[in-house]
């Protein structure tokens, strides 16, 4: 087993929410890591060598062994640095629920939100409604709690953290509204709790870069909107 003392490197991209969730996990657990920024439009040989299958970030390298896929990485980190700040709950049923909701949120809310951002017209409206439905389910999940993890931040909070800094950018770029404070007051409060959390508040991506990158993606898929 890779020792907790061995070197950790993270290949990442500043605008990527799945990379940032890994960083949040590492920081919460107090794991030191070397951050390596990857230009995803000009992929390095290192990335191609470490993740030949998908050629994507994030990739974690621990004791010279690479691991890809953000959720796989986070479970690995949780298991390897198992004495420091557990990310997943202890009980198997709670763990299963956490994994279930992350899968749901990634598919329905994150991927759905991205598609909505690059779409327009009726197609976008349909997608926005689907994402809002997903958001309402998350609202039910967090009602009465400070964090999805309860009193403390947990795995689900880290996985959904993109909502706090990226969703507002997608809403701006896509000219749409997904998170409404009146419909989702608990999530809105959670957003503030996360943004002011000592571990995360200094680990947020620069908004200008997020705007530039996401406009670029939207323009790529929907060039007519930018003329």
């Amino acid at each position: 087993m890779g020792s907790q003392k061995e070197e950790v490197k993270l290949l990442s991209f500043v605008c990527s929410p799945v990379c940032r969730r890994v960083e949040w996990g590492l920081r919460l657990k107090g794991v030191d890591y070397e951050y390596i920024e990857e230009d995803i439009f000009n992929k390095s040989n290192l990335l191609l060598q470490l993740n030949p299958l998908h050629k994507k970030v994030p990739v974690l390298v621990h004791a010279n062994k690479p691991i890809a896929e953000s959720l796989v990485i986070l479970e690995y980190v949780d298991e390897t640095w198992n004495h420091q700040y557990p990310l997943l709950p202890q009980h198997p049923y709670e763990r299963a629920l956490t994994r279930f909701w992350i899968k749901f949120a990634d598919e329905k809310v994150m991927y759905g939100g991205y598609v909505a951002m690059i779409s327009s017209g009726d197609e976008q409206e349909k997608k926005v409604n689907e994402v809002r439905e997903g958001m309402e389910k998350l609202e039910e999940l967090i009602k009465g709690k400070r964090f999805f993890g309860g009193d403390k931040v947990g795995f689900l909070d880290i996985a959904l953290g993109w909502i706090t800094y990226l969703l507002p950018v997608w809403e701006e770029v896509g000219c749409m509204k997904i998170l409404e404070a009146e419909k989702c007051p608990a999530i809105s409060a959670w957003v503030n709790n996360i943004l002011s959390h000592p571990v995360f508040k200094d680990c947020l991506p620069p908004k200008e870069e997020l705007l530039a990158y996401n406009h670029r993606r939207r323009k790529h898929f929907n060039p007519a909107l930018y003329n």
Binding site: M1, G2, H62, I67, L71, Y93, R95, R99, F100
Partner: protein
Amino acid sequence: MGESEVKVIGKWSSPYVMRVKIALRIKSIEHEHFEETLNPKSDLLLKSNPVYAKVPVLIHHGKPISESLIIVEYIDETWSNDNSPSILPSDPYDRALARFWATYIDEKWFPSMKSIITVETEEEREPYYKVLEEVVERVEDAFGKCSKGKPFFGGDSVGFLDIAFGSFLGWLRVTESLYGRKVLVEAKAPSLVKWAERFADDPAVKGLIPDHDKLVEISKPLQIKWRALAAIGKKY
């Protein structure tokens, strides 16, 4: 073990349900099976899996869990003692590899298999066959890394990745019967071909792969349904 302490809502033809059944058998867990027709969806299913209304669902002490691989991990974590083998490897890096490959397989395999059955012509099937062939090539390579010379991805016994991939073998044979084109071939994947035989014969799996002729029989109405959905632009 109390009566009905463990219940599975399943369907005989589903590869995802098969994953759960294998995991339960590895751990020697008795359970009650509830065969779901899916048309209409039962009240039990709608209550137990309100988000997706899909099988499999495991109900343990009245609490439901959905999504096949999440269920398998739950089974592994809940029934973890010296008496039964582990489903996931013990080393965190090996666990990461198993999860990584299972994620890859889930993303690529069944969508392509479904498309092969749904589209109309050989020309339309071609790109999906290319995907399956690429997956087989990559998974053949992964087998070498994960098995480390042992009979299964999981080592000496059937494990997480064996279950994730092996559960699709039944439907793979169906596409081979329907269209006469083999994907898991000796020339391209010698290790996997042998592994597939060992997997099917393993006591944890034997009898759980649905009957081939019965699967071929239901592939017809499924094909009609999926083609109808595709025609109205719905993701089948």
